[in-house]
């Protein structure tokens, strides 16, 4: 087998560099969460667990957490289905393959802070193009950002537009690096496209699918600038997600200690949730047969 002494050469440089950069900020954040650092009192005093007890009773945070679950799960699920379908469509030879492949990647390459401003202009109910189109078709205008349900849908549309390419790229690369033999074998067995997909493609794509879903869930959950630009959490609290709430408490109100407690809790909950989700996904996707 491989020479085991060499294994450190591979892993350690990356691991140590990462630890060197991230360890201080991480520990510092945990420490801050036990302090009362805010706008009038900068510094690391000892505040005990009071930030955490306050959080426990903070309805807005827990509601924002639930909302986050809804927004993140729905947008990532949509991105996965759409991204996978598109990847399958441009996987094999089709006309203008390169054009489609590159075009489908472009939304991901835009800067979210700026692109969301453009989306806001698109959703603008009296000056934007979307309602203009809808009215030209003779349909009633949609209050995109000004009712609770439509505001959430608008948010998901922007997320899907921006990040489906991420799924698409990852899954397309996965498809393109699949070995050929299983497909040839399936063809010899006389399997149709549907059976080939479920029996061959899906199982082979399972690890990369799980990887893609997990990383997108992580990223989608951090949604913050998009919310700020589109709706600033409104109407009411309809689009106030956990990370946006942390942003408001942390940087707008400068309650650093409290925001740190929220962040640490968020981190722990996310790690637990993602571990469970990864296990469930693995069970569904890999052990199905």
């Amino acid at each position: 087998m491989l020479n085991l002494r060499h294994k450190y050469v591979f892993l350690l440089p990356g691991l140590l560099v990462l630890l060197a950069i991230i360890l201080f900020p991480l520990l510092f954040t945990i420490r801050v969460s036990f302090s009362s650092w805010d706008v009038v009192m900068p510094g690391l005093d000892w505040f005990g667990g009071r930030n955490y007890t306050r959080m426990w009773a903070d309805g807005r945070f827990w509601e924002a957490m639930q909302r986050l679950v809804m927004v993140a799960v729905s947008s990532v699920a949509l991105q996965y289905v759409l991204g996978f379908s598109l990847a399958l469509l441009v996987w094999r030879n089709i006309r203008m393959k390169r054009f489609f492949r590159v075009l489908f990647l472009v939304p991901m390459m835009t800067t979210p802070v700026i692109m969301t401003v453009i989306w806001r202009t698109i959703f603008h109910e009296s000056l934007g193009p979307l309602n203009n189109f809808i009215e030209m078709l003779g349909l009633p205008a949609v209050p995109w950002l000004s009712t609770a349900s439509t505001a959430v849908i608008s948010l998901v549309i922007v997320e899907v537009w921006q990040w489906t390419p991420f799924m698409f790229l990852l899954l397309l690369a996965g498809l393109l690096s699949l070995p050929r033999e299983p497909f040839q074998a399936a063809a010899i067995d006389g399997a149709g496209p549907v059976r080939t997909f479920f029996n061959v493609t899906m199982p082979l794509m399972a690890p990369i699918s799980i990887g893609a879903l997990i990383i997108r869930l992580i990223e989608a959950s951090k949604i913050m600038e998009t919310v700020y630009v589109l709706t600033a959490g409104g109407p009411g609290t309809a689009t106030e997600t956990a990370s946006y709430y942390i942003y408001i408490r942390g940087l707008r109100e400068f309650q650093i200690g409290y925001a740190a407690a929220l962040s640490v809790t968020y981190l722990v909950l996310m790690i637990i949730a993602l571990t469970i989700i990864a296990k469930i996904l693995a069970r569904i996707m890999i052990l199905k047969d």
Partner: protein, 507 residues
């Protein structure tokens, strides 16, 4: 009489500049005006080899004049001046993080004056020579007050901001429309003096094309987007109901007990009116930020708007299709005013108006700066009497009148070609706010961000129908009590006492 005196004073001030040797017209100014930081005085200074760091608002509002005068300052003194431009929503943290971590990042800061309660301990007081300068003596009392904390001036006045009403003159003066309105409501169509009248007129002019351009028009454009600047719009709407001219001792809190007053009936009435107003806002109007409000009123879509100058200035831009079709007026008030001392609504025959001396752009020098001399010279130069008239003329700069000699209608008609009536309404509205004895100031206390953000969250919940006005404001009051507790009752009270002193005209 007063105007004549000012004009005489101006002429007297300008006289020496006529014989000045050096010509600074290449900087775009009419002529240099002698003073502490005139072009000539600054030209005589030598700051070569030194660097001045400035943080300011995004281009162009405030950002562009900051950069323009920074460049001029650099050329005149030899200093290297570096400017960074930041959107308003991100400005606070960008300044606060270096402050709190002891990093001396900027010498000069331009920011919203309501943050004085948080920033004051990191700011350098304005030295006496600048406070006694001729240019400073002309700054109106409101803006001296805004710049001052207790007895100390720690912000450098460079702009005047206020909320006032803007309306479409072509509608309110149109005989046809006046008749239509009277037929429908039985009342004369007039500039609204109360929020109830505002509502009635806005409702009537909502949802149909009254300017004949083929697009629907609407009643009212307001800043309603949560975590944008909605809290200021809300305070404007509340002031008339909740700021009783004879009840002293606090508008946001009862200064004695530090009990929040946000859930008192005056505030609740203001919120109920705000909720109702959503019906005559343009589509999506309950998600309008300041920029949307400016486009909506300034672009000719809506009849009414109130908040900062921007929408008015946008409407009066050279290429605007509603140029000279807008007018300014004081914010509406109310016949009914809540008296928290007696626990009753008091009736006023003349509507009670409480001008809200809204926070606006201000500037300051960091206490940690190693270039305080240069920094104050820069601010003094920025606002010298040659630059200000220049900046006032350029709408996108966002510099609005703040010296007594700015309130001259002739300036706006001659320099900018405004219609005389428009200029007159603008100047009268603005200067009128200085004469009021029933002013409302911002909550200039430590943690103002927390107070205002929880207020906005509560108001927004009520606007979205998640809670009633009373429930929402009760929630805000509870939250405010907790914030006071966290920050320290005495600390908040001490700071708030300064605000109340201004409001109660104790100085």
């Amino acid at each position: 009489m007063r105007k004549m005196l000012i004009t005489t004073a101006l002429v007297a001030l300008m006289a020496p500049s006529m014989v000045m040797a050096k010509d600074y017209s290449k900087y775009g100014i009419d002529k240099d005006v002698a003073g502490l930081c005139s072009y000539e005085a600054i030209d005589a200074k030598d700051y070569s080899g030194r660097t001045l760091s400035i943080i300011t608002h995004a281009v162009p509002v405030m950002g562009e004049p900051t950069a323009l005068h920074a460049k001029q300052f650099g050329e005149l003194t030899g200093a290297k001046v570096k400017v960074v431009h930041v959107p308003f929503g991100d400005l606070f943290q960008r300044i606060m993080i270096p402050f709190q971590t002891g990093q001396s990042a900027y010498d000069v800061m331009f920011y919203g004056s309501l943050w004085i309660g948080d920033f004051n301990r990191y700011l350098a007081p304005v030295p006496e020579k600048y406070r006694n300068s001729k240019a400073m003596k002309l700054v109106t009392p409101n803006y001296i007050d805004v710049a001052t904390l207790g007895k100390q001036m720690i912000q450098y006045p460079i702009d005047g901001d206020r909320h006032y009403l803007k309306y479409r003159r072509d509608v309110l003066e149109n005989a046809d429309l006046k008749k239509k309105f009277k037929d429908k409501t039985g009342r004369e169509l007039q500039v609204p003096a109360t929020w109830e009248e505002y509502d009635e007129i806005a409702a009537f002019f909502n949802g149909w094309d009254w300017d004949g351009d083929g697009e629907k028009n609407y009643g009212s454009a307001e800043v309603v987007k949560r975590d944008d600047l909605m809290f200021s719009a809300f305070i404007s709407r509340v002031a008339g109901y909740a700021k009783h001219p004879d009840v002293k001792g606090g508008f946001f809190f009862d200064l004695e007990t530090m009990t929040p007053l946000v859930n008192s009936p005056g505030w609740v009435r203001g919120l109920e009116m705000f909720i109702k107003a959503q019906r005559f806002m343009p589509p999506g109007g309950n998600n309008f930020g300041l920029g949307d409000e400016i486009f909506s009123f300034g672009g000719g879509q809506t009849l009414f708007s109130y908040s900062w100058d921007d929408a008015f200035i946008q409407a009066m831009e050279k290429k605007s299709r509603i140029r000279n079709k807008v007018m300014a007026a004081p914010l509406p008030g109310s016949h009914e005013v809540w008296n928290r001392k007696t626990g009753k609504w008091d009736h006023f025959d003349t509507p009670n108006r409480a001008p809200y001396i809204t926070w606006g752009w201000t500037s300051a020098v960091a206490a940690s700066s190693k270039n305080k001399d240069m920094a104050f010279d820069y601010l003094c130069f920025f606002s010298n009497q040659a630059n200000t008239p220049h900046d006032l003329q350029i709408g996108r700069f966002g510099v609005n009148p703040y010296r007594s000699n700015h309130f001259d209608p002739a300036f706006w008609t001659e320099k900018l070609g405004w219609d005389a009536k428009v200029a007159d309404s603008y100047v009268k509205t603005l200067s009128g706010m200085d004469d009021s004895k029933n002013r409302v100031f911002d909550l200039r206390v430590p943690g103002v961000g927390q107070f205002m953000s929880s207020l906005a969250a509560g108001v927004s919940e009520a606007m979205a129908g998640q809670k009633t006005a009373q429930e929402a404001l009760d929630g805000v009051a509870r939250e405010w009590s907790r914030i006071v507790e966290r920050i320290g009752k005495e600390r908040v009270r001490d700071a708030y006492a300064n605000v109340v002193a201004l409001e109660d005209n104790l100085r």
